[in-house]
Symmetry: D3
Subunit: 252 residues, 6 copies
């Protein structure tokens, strides 16, 4: 069994807001020993493909400090290119966030979300999404307070969690690095506060999985997502109510 945690137990999760002073929204999120700085920056223009349409955009970038991991990695700026893994993750983060933000209501603005992993122990992409959501809410909150936006353009909560199947066939929630490297199946699930799927990515590297295993993993993820949503509510304070109202309405 895994380091004392129950199969459906998250690692210790902490969300520290206003971590860095310049960004409109800034969060340090920890999933156990995985620590990610999530900064949300507002830019007053949109990428070329959206110009003149009166709507906004959210884009994400993801990186690790070279020594966030056990072995030092070569900096992607030194290599002169971004790896396929990095690209996959940053596309995932951006896509997920766009699912719960009403881009028509933010004007011709881009929200840049930077997720920088300062310490890695598995689950960096799920921590990034979960933390980035909080940073995004804080950034939009600031725009509401300044009167730039009339109301928070966020339609629901958004969290992500990993689930997997260990070699002994056991399904588990929130894999640390050691578990992840042994797992036969690795799945990342992004869900709204309403329990709808935003993204589901399950992979059997040199292995496969059955419908039954899929259902068990989804069920574990749902438990994790409920807990993460609570922590996000605490972190964003007064903005939580606004989102609940908003998503209740869109739910009808």
């Amino acid at each position: 069994m895994r380091s004392g945690r129950a199969v459906n137990e998250l690692r210790e999760i902490t969300i520290e807001t206003d971590y860095v002073k310049h960004p409109e929204g800034s969060v340090l999120i920890s999933f156990g020993d995985t620590k990610v700085i999530c900064n949300a920056s507002v830019e007053d223009r949109v990428p070329p493909f959206l110009r003149g349409q009166g709507k906004g955009w959210i884009t994400a970038e993801y990186a690790m400090l070279p020594r966030a991991t056990e072995q030092r990695n070569i900096r992607e700026s030194s290599k002169g290119k971004v790896s396929g893994r990095t690209m996959e993750i940053q596309r995932l983060i951006g896509r997920a966030l766009r699912a719960v933000v009403d881009l028509d209501r933010i004007g011709e603005r881009t929200l840049w979300v930077d997720c920088d992993v300062i310490q890695a122990d598995g689950g960096t992409r799920t921590a990034s999404i979960t933390g980035a959501f909080v940073a995004v809410v804080l950034a939009f909150g600031k725009l509401v307070e300044k009167g730039v936006l009339k109301k928070l353009p966020v339609t629901d909560f958004l969290t992500a969690i990993s689930v997997g199947v260990l070699p002994d066939g056991e399904e588990i929630l929130d894999l640390c690095y050691e578990e992840d490297s042994k797992a036969h199946v690795d799945m990342n699930i992004v869900m709204t506060g309403q329990g709808e799927f935003v993204e589901l990515q399950g992979t059997g590297e040199e292995a496969t999985f059955s419908m039954k295993q899929l259902q068990k993993m989804i069920s574990l993820a749902q438990e994790g997502v409920a807990e993460l949503t609570k922590l996000q509510k605490d972190a964003i304070g007064k903005w939580a109510d606004v989102i609940e109202t908003s998503s209740a309405v869109s739910e009808k």
Copy 2:
């Protein structure tokens, strides 16, 4: 409703083998108007991280001709870098193929799988995986015939298909480009001939989906996969029996 097809109906699928003369395995696969050349090349060495371990590797590359699409795309060689989308797809193809090949039985060899889309109309990644599997079987078949390998190192069939949810809420199988661009949910499912999941990637871009919709999409995919597997059997001829025996054994 969509261009006359039933919701659970594949487009016309054709698989032409030995399409190009140099590669060990070569296939032109069509999913309706989507046409992909899948070439499998054998190289007698492995990437650095595998050297000296006596096992092999499969890696895939994916590209589109610039005018495979309605609008001409800039060539990635001219841009000097491969896009995130391309990286995602080629990582997916390689990972999927490795799930049904016993890498311990191919010696220190790399199988390079090149999927080049010459005409695109949606579903290029699922056509690529489905065609690449055939090219891989033919390439390994050639090694068996030459006496380089004792038996085919392929443990099961491998097919991929897209499913999605249209704006009216209808779940459909095998989306063409027009359907894909309208769909609220887009899911790619890679399955073995035994009906196990190899990869599941569902995305709601600016939308979400429910457990019920997920189940409906999976069920459509299972129908498509069964048909695709039959077409693969026809394409690989005598090698089909070897795979069935092999996977029957591993199934126990």
Copy 3:
């Protein structure tokens, strides 16, 4: 002697039009086992150096599928740069096409010509030019039919062929890969239907050639060009007469 062909005999040449559905002009050309997809795409703007001058431009790109050749080549998009050989060829194709198109009569448009070699057996650049010409005529033909252009802006036919000197001193026409790799002299000649030179590139790698050999090679090329021009006429159908008239006029 070479695989049964006479020294002045072309390989089997075929030109299949409308090969891919999206481009304005699309051709699959074969010179024996060399097969090239030539697509011509119309873009409604010109490169910066031509803006505001009321005239158009033609530019070409050339690539090989990685396994078009006996040995798999690394993709230029993976290497992040285009090789010197590729650049030379694509500059040659563009320059040659511009010699028989009246750029002043196409408006501020760019014609992108993509030559993608799917199978290579020598002479890929000459097949590319010969096929590209047909794709270009078809693309401009489409603009004429749509009423965008008043008449076909093509002033003459354009074909290319290779000639060379074998180690035994014999001059030959249309070298396949094996002949090319043994030849002491390799020359590519681009000519109009009127028999004028557009481009002449003769190279003795680690060897030289005499005036007499040059004349013999040119004479072989002229025979080949005459035949290729006939095949182009068949391929472009009704547009052939328009070009003949046009070039007859410019000839005076």
Copy 4:
């Protein structure tokens, strides 16, 4: 006058050790609102130019999180290249550290020093050097404790501080961003604990400075260096005495 500080007064300096868990040495250093993570990683080989000489190497990399600054910067990994400013800084950090480490005594090892600025308010390069020194001592200390090295190969303390001349002609110590952007002269001084110069870089962008101003700035820097050295001693604890002995010896 500047935000309440005396001209010879440092901002509040803190040094937090063991900040990240994987690196051999890890420090979070703050110079006021400037915060830099300095990680030292040991690699058991040297760059090609040093192989087989039995000595080691220290190299440094420097980066900023995109939103470390008031305006978000484009990530250097996205741009595909490292800026001139970044290169200058990382070359400076590496050179400075090599001046106080006896590379002959560390074997064929490379110490990678990563300085990642998570929040910037001027003086990031001086904070980086001052923090990196502590990380380097901790990393070598770990090698001594493991018995890999016999004694600490560090010959002296190493600190860096900025000085400058304000538009009113006043010389000041440790410039914050606002001061730095107004200053007519900007100088970075790297010194040993013994008060020797390791590096001196003074620049008058669109301005110049006199010998007298140079002397005043150096004198301010010496005050700052003395204080920073004390803080480093506290941070490295037991290793401080070893360095003092060592440098006392080399001083003779």
Copy 5:
């Protein structure tokens, strides 16, 4: 002692003007066997960050011919990137020149200064700055003669020289390559004709230096600068008086 020169003696310095015909200002400068072509080109626009402000910019580029040195270097264009050393030097040259040019008086123009080392024997950056100043004066002189500028926008002379400390502790002026490679301390000093510092960069690679050594080096540099300024006056002829007047005024 060093090849017969006194410690305070420059190598033979020559400045040949109008060396290349196209640039507005062109100089071949030699510091002994170090030979640098310095070309100044006027462009009638400024970089984006300065547009619309009515002022100009000076930027510099530096390169070496591959065989300027004893060992051939790989061309930076072949490597696809500019080294850190090159970036440092070209930033230094540009910054230094901007200190003696009144950018407000040159309109929205950029002066591109290209320093190309055709033969290297130490001191290439100091020769570059000293020669570039002359090329810049000649280029601005041409603009004055054409009536584009009313008067020469140059406020003072600008020269650069290296000083260093040999292993025996002796301070020397203007190091050739052999001296430079042995020196414990290497310092480059950029000064105005008035004897003010523009830039001071002293480095002890694997060594340190004292206040006393610093003062001795500065004093040597001052001797060198005086001589170099005289040579520049001869090279620029009639423009020398204009600069003297101008700097005399700004000195008050």
Copy 6:
């Protein structure tokens, strides 16, 4: 008519040997206002594809100083890639030189030939080849004098010249920039001292040329080549006789 020169008259040609001190062979060649530094460097190893075969290689690089031309060009090192034109020229220079050097007799060595244009006025590639030949002979001569090679491995002289057709239909020799930019046909011819072709590249950009024009251009080129060969003989002094003997022998 062109600036006073007869149609078959070369510009003033000068060849200055030992121009730069480090390279084994160094030449400054001028064709009128076109000036190119040609340096030949010997490296004691060959590229990977030749290792272990006991033979050598010659490779060439070509570049222009940014302001060699009327308009300043962006440096290829800044752009991060080498243009198609540069690649074409450097491939041509290398290929041409290899035609007159017996690579089997130089051992496993690479001769790097760097052609750097410091001033351009048309014909930079022909000047480069003509000058590079002299630098190559001098470099091999040095190896013979040192006893590294037994005899000069050069089998014939090698020169290059441009010819063209002006708009009025007149064929001319050795085009300067102004002529080149107006010419309808531009041809570069590389010949041996024996009058054999090494390379023939004729291009009609937006124009064509006839067999008769081709013959006239070749005849002009032969006159130019004879003169250039004489100038090369003067430049290489004692080595001229060795080459003549050698080529006389190979001619039989």
